[in-house]
Symmetry: C2
Subunit: 189 residues, 2 copies
DNA sequence: CAGTTTGTTGATTGACGAGTCAATAAACTT
DNA sequence: AAGTTTATTGACTCGTCAATCAACAAACTG
C-alpha cells in the first residue's frame, strides 16, 4: 500500500489530530498513540515523521496561529479605512472558530508551553508582533496610537480568556462590543 | 517521632511545595513524589493527607487565590476614595509577588485546569466575581460603571498574560499605567 | 533486475508514576 | 495495661507511555 509522497499528508493529519486531541483533553496530556490513532496510523509512524511529541505540539501551534493569521488577513482584505480594519481584526479575533474546543485548548496550552519551551515562546512572540503591527497601523493617525494599540492587544487576550473560561457559551459579539467601547473612549469619540 | 497535630502543618507544607513544583515545571506535569520530597515527607504521606494529586492541585489553587485576595484586601484597607481604591487593586494585581515563578505557573495552569475540572472553574469564578464586585463598587458613581469594570477586569488578565509571556523581566508598573490610561479615557478624564 | 529510497507497523525497551498496603511507632484514652 | 487513634514509610501493584528497532512492502532508479 505504500504510496509515495505521503509525508505532507501524514504530517498534516497528525497536526490536525494533535489539535483535536489537545482540545479533547483540555491539556497537553495526550499520548502519541491517541494522536496517531486519530490520524489513522501507528504511533511509530508519528515518531517517524516528527521526531518527538514536542515537535508535534510545535507544529500544531504553528498551524493554529497560521489559521488565525489567515482569518485576520482575510478580514482585513475586505475592510476599508482604519476604523473598519480595527473592527475586522476584532471580529476575526472573536470569531466562532476561535471558540471551538480545539482552538481554546490550543491557545491556553500554548500559553503554558511558552513558559518553558523557547520555540513556543518565539512563535507566540511572532503572533503578538503581527497583531500589534496590524493594530498600530490602524491607529497611526492618532497621537497615542502605540499605547492604544498595545492596550487593545492585551484587552483582546483578556476578553478571550474570560469568554472561554466563563460558564455558558462564549459570546464573541459581546467581546467585540467591549473592545469597541474601549476604543471609542480612547479615541475620544 | 510521631507528634500529634501534624495534619495542618503537613497539608500546608504540601500546598506550598505543590505551588513551587508547578512553578518549576511550568506545568501540572509534576509528580506526587517530587512534591512530597520538597515538602519533606514520603509520597505515601502526601496521599494520606490528600486523597489524590488533583486534590493537592485544588488546595494549591485555593491558596494562591487566597493570597491574592488578601493582597487586594490589604491594599484596599488603606485606600481612601474610589480613585485610590482602583489604583490599589491595580497595584495589587501587578505586584512583584504575582510575577514570581510560582505564581505565574499557578495562574496559567489553573486556567488550563478550569477548562475541564469543574471545581477549578468554580474557584476561578469566585475569584473573578470578587474582583468584579470590587471594581464595580469603585465605579458605582459612573453611569457605565458596570461595563467599565468588566472591561477593566479583562484588561487586567490580558496585561498580566502579556507581561508574563513577554521576553525580559515583567514590568508591573507599565501594566498599571496602561490600565490607568484605559480608566482615564473611559471616565472622560 | 538489483539496489535504493520511502512508507509502515508490531513488538519491545526502559523508564516512570499514581495509588495501595502492611507494618511500625508514638501518643492519647479508659 | 490494653486498646485506639494518628503519624509515617518502604515496598509493591498495576498501569502507562515515549521512543526504538527490526522487518516487510511498495515504489522509484539506473
Amino acid at each position: 500500500m505504500p504510496k509515495l509522497g505521503m509525508q505532507p499528508i501524514r504530517k498534516q493529519a497528525l497536526v490536525n489530530a494533535t489539535i483535536v486531541e489537545i482540545g479533547r483533553a483540555g491539556s497537553l496530556d495526550v499520548t502519541v498513540s491517541q494522536i496517531a490513532k486519530r490520524a489513522g496510523m501507528s504511533s511509530a509512524l508519528a515518531h517517524h515523521y516528527f521526531g518527538s511529541k514536542e515537535d508535534m505540539f510545535l507544529a500544531a501551534m504553528r498551524h493554529v496561529m497560521t489559521l488565525y493569521g489567515a482569518e485576520v488577513r482575510g478580514a482585513l482584505a475586505v475592510a476599508d479605512g482604519p476604523d473598519a480594519r480595527l473592527r475586522a481584526i476584532l471580529r476575526a479575533s472573536f470569531s466562532a472558530g476561535n471558540f471551538r474546543r480545539e482552538a481554546v485548548g490550543a491557545w491556553l496550552n500554548f500559553w503554558v508551553m511558552a513558559q518553558t519551551v523557547p520555540a513556543a515562546r518565539r512563535l507566540l512572540g511572532v503572533y503578538q508582533g503581527r497583531l500589534r503591527s496590524n493594530l498600530r497601523a490602524c491607529l497611526r493617525a492618532h497621537a497615542d496610537g502605540r499605547e492604544i494599540a498595545d492596550g487593545l492587544g492585551a484587552l483582546i487576550d483578556g476578553l478571550y480568556l474570560r469568554e472561554v473560561l466563563k460558564n455558558g457559551p462564549p459570546d464573541g459579539a459581546a467581546a467585540v462590543a467591549t473592545a469597541m467601547a474601549y476604543l471609542d473612549a480612547r479615541l475620544g469619540k
